[in-house]
Symmetry: C2
Subunit: 429 residues, 2 copies
């Protein structure tokens, strides 16, 4: 029976796999589990009372509009409020550039619809946001991965690669980057690199998709202009969201784009989900125009920077030598590199037994052979106490793994070292 | 500049056109305009006060959950409540068959992702729901159109066509139907035809997508079992929504499918928009479990059946001879056939001058040469008085068109007559 149904699936559906991260998150309902997995905001930041007041006011004053279909572009006063906030950050946009979306994930879906034919190339960093890979992947995009360093995308490697790719019959359509406190690695692109990237977009004729969900969550250092600030050709499509500053459950995000691109995104959204939920848009709008948002962002930054501090102290205290991690200036994640050859998926099994969870880094790489010895730790969701206790547990698991030696999976170690190790120490594959 | 950006568009994006209906709806902001266009529920039916109370309660009791990300499948108690309502209507489903979506339009997007490769065939009726055409069209589906009569899809023509199509290398994947009070034509499929269609799905191995947004809005006659009630092979994917019974602005709908299909729909939704807005799901759930929904549906049926009565009386009173219309047993639309050769798009221009709007029927046909002399009138949104006044205006515009004669566009007249006319008068092919 199943076969009779499933053989009708499209090629893209046949390639779809349930995300391991997602499956893992289901395990986290176990009591006592301390989770650094997931990417959830801390619910203690949600302004439930203010949202309750606003929902009450909107439904009292204007229920007929708030419960009706909205136009696909989004609630016009919210588009205006979003444009105004972007202008304050130096981006040259007006209401005509803004489309409100059902959470910023939807921008990836709509951008794929508008730009991606099967086998078209999207350039991503390695690692990158997992669900960008699945989102573009659903449209059978091909990925070119550029490694990162502490400054986000390696611009030297990118320049060389794009020069080569540009000569192909089908050069890359989109370069997808998260310049601020990147998910998963927490790294930030310096201004100089941003300027260079925008220049290269013009030189090699590609579109930049700038994903900026965490831009307002900077805990140390100075803000750096968005790529969109540097864009005078309409090549940068900028996306962000209220999920990390107000509430993810409202599913309200936005995209700012050149009008020619925006028009196609709007037509795509029309047949995708008609319009973004109107009550959520109205709540986000009132929250901004009543002047709560900046205060809220300050409140979140205080909580999350405290948590990041606890996290970094815990890492210093509990992690054995041989590990490396990025000290992020903002965002929600700490990116850890384990000793070469250690497989974080294997480590995860031991960690789960000790009731501590994280996400194996390999999920964030377009090439499944990469990132085996990396892991992503979320520091915004666990309580302060649990961060410390979780790192104590995790440190002890990693320590044990190091002491007992670990199986070096052949894909993850340098080939030559692998041969040497095999020959000298273990005598078996 | 524009060209440098737009030439990156995907093949599907190049084919995307802004819907004429949508563009038309923008004109409706003109004062004094009476609109039978659109497909909006009447806001007087929205239970704004109850929703306000529920939103207040949910955010008071459980703000941390209601504002957080939800799982992609949807809020489990809502899935259960939906499954229970479906079981009461004779459908054999449980919570494992249900995915909550961001409005039922999203089901078309997800079904296209899961089933449609470029050039795959979707069988639709002619006419059918406009945004199903654009939704499947965005995935470069090919359409096979089956004419309708007063009993919805012409089963005799369908049987003959499917037998022929099944012999192709790539037979149809999906047959998309709206069995109850179809949008746009208001026609309902009899039980006998439903049974036959489900049997044919098994015989010719296709999936039925049963779109049932209006099934609960029956004003006369007896309910007929859904196709999903007759399905014992998991071939029927059933979709419906809270948009027509509670509020479209909440964007909460659902799909019920065989677990193998549902799994792929869930993975697709994950990378499309992560999850449906949680506050909307919580409101819909409380609204159902607090026992409001059946009372609400009765209230809506009373209002809409009154409006339908006013509409039908107005049609009898104001429409000239030579027009034909379906008397729907439920739903939101009246489908009108104008005299052969009259072009409703042309008529619309005159109508707009007299401050009355409708949707030209041709938008609802996969083949743009069809339906020129048809129009769709919505009767749920205008006030009672405006329905009568609107039909008075529309009747007078049509009358005038008939009296003055109309330009018969060559595409809309009988082919043989066209050939004869061409041959005799023009002397060229």
């Amino acid at each position: 029976m199943a076969n009779r149904l499933t053989r009708h699936f499209s090629d893209r559906a046949k390639e779809m796999r349930a995300s391991e991260v997602r499956e893992l998150l289901k395990l986290l309902q176990v009591p006592d589990m301390i989770s650094f997995a997931g990417g959830l905001p801390n619910p203690e930041t949600f302004p439930a009372n203010i949202i309750r007041e606003i929902a009450n006011d909107v439904l009292m004053r204007d229920g007929a509009q708030a419960l009706q279909y909205g136009i696909t572009e989004g609630y016009a006063p919210l588009r205006e409020a979003v444009a105004e906030r972007m202008r304050k950050k130096g981006m040259d946009v007006s209401v005509e550039n803004i489309l409100i979306v059902s959470g910023s994930q939807q921008v990836i879906d709509l951008m794929a619809k508008v730009f991606i034919d099967p086998k078209d190339t999207v350039v991503v960093t390695a690692p990158t946001y997992l669900t960008a890979l699945t989102g573009f992947g659903a449209f059978q995009a091909t990925f070119e991965s550029i490694p990162i360093d502490a400054h986000n995308m390696r611009m030297d490697i990118f320049e060389e690669r794009i020069a080569r790719l540009a000569k192909r019959a089908n050069p890359p359509e989109i370069v997808y980057v998260l310049p601020n406190f990147q998910n998963p690695a927490g790294v930030t692109m310096p201004e100089k690199n941003r300027r260079r990237l925008v220049d290269l977009a013009s030189e090699y004729d590609f579109i930049i998709l700038e994903d900026d969900p965490y831009g307002e969550l900077r805990y140390v250092g100075k803000d750096i202009p968005a790529l969109k600030c540097l864009d005078d050709e309409g090549r940068v499509v900028y996306m962000s969201t209220f999920s990390k500053t107000l509430s993810p459950g409202l599913r309200v995000g936005w995209v700012a784009a050149d009008p020619d691109i925006l028009k196609k995104l709007i037509i795509s959204k029309q047949s995708t989900d008609v319009c973004t939920n109107v009550l959520g848009q109205r709540i986000a709008h009132e929250y901004v125009v009543r002047g709560h948002i900046d205060e809220q962002i300050e409140r979140i930054k205080k909580i999350y920077s405290r948590k990041l501090g606890i996290m970094l102290r815990g890492m210093d205290e509990f992690m054995p030598k041989g590990l490396d991690w990025v000290r992020p200036e903002g965002g929600m994640f700490l990116w850890v590199t384990l000793p070469e050859g250690m497989d974080s998926s294997e480590l995860l099994k031991s960690a789960l037994k000790k009731r501590v969870a994280f996400v194996s880094g390999k999920a964030f790489f377009a090439d499944p052979r990469e990132g085996l010895n990396t892991m992503r730790l979320n520091f915004t969701h666990p309580s302060d106490d649990l961060i410390t206790e979780g790192l104590r547990r995790l440190g002890s698991v990693i320590n044990q793994e190091i002491v007992s030696g670990w199986d070096r999976p052949p894909e993850s170690v340098d080939r030559k070292m692998e041969e040497a190790v095999k020959g000298a120490l273990i005598g078996k594959s």
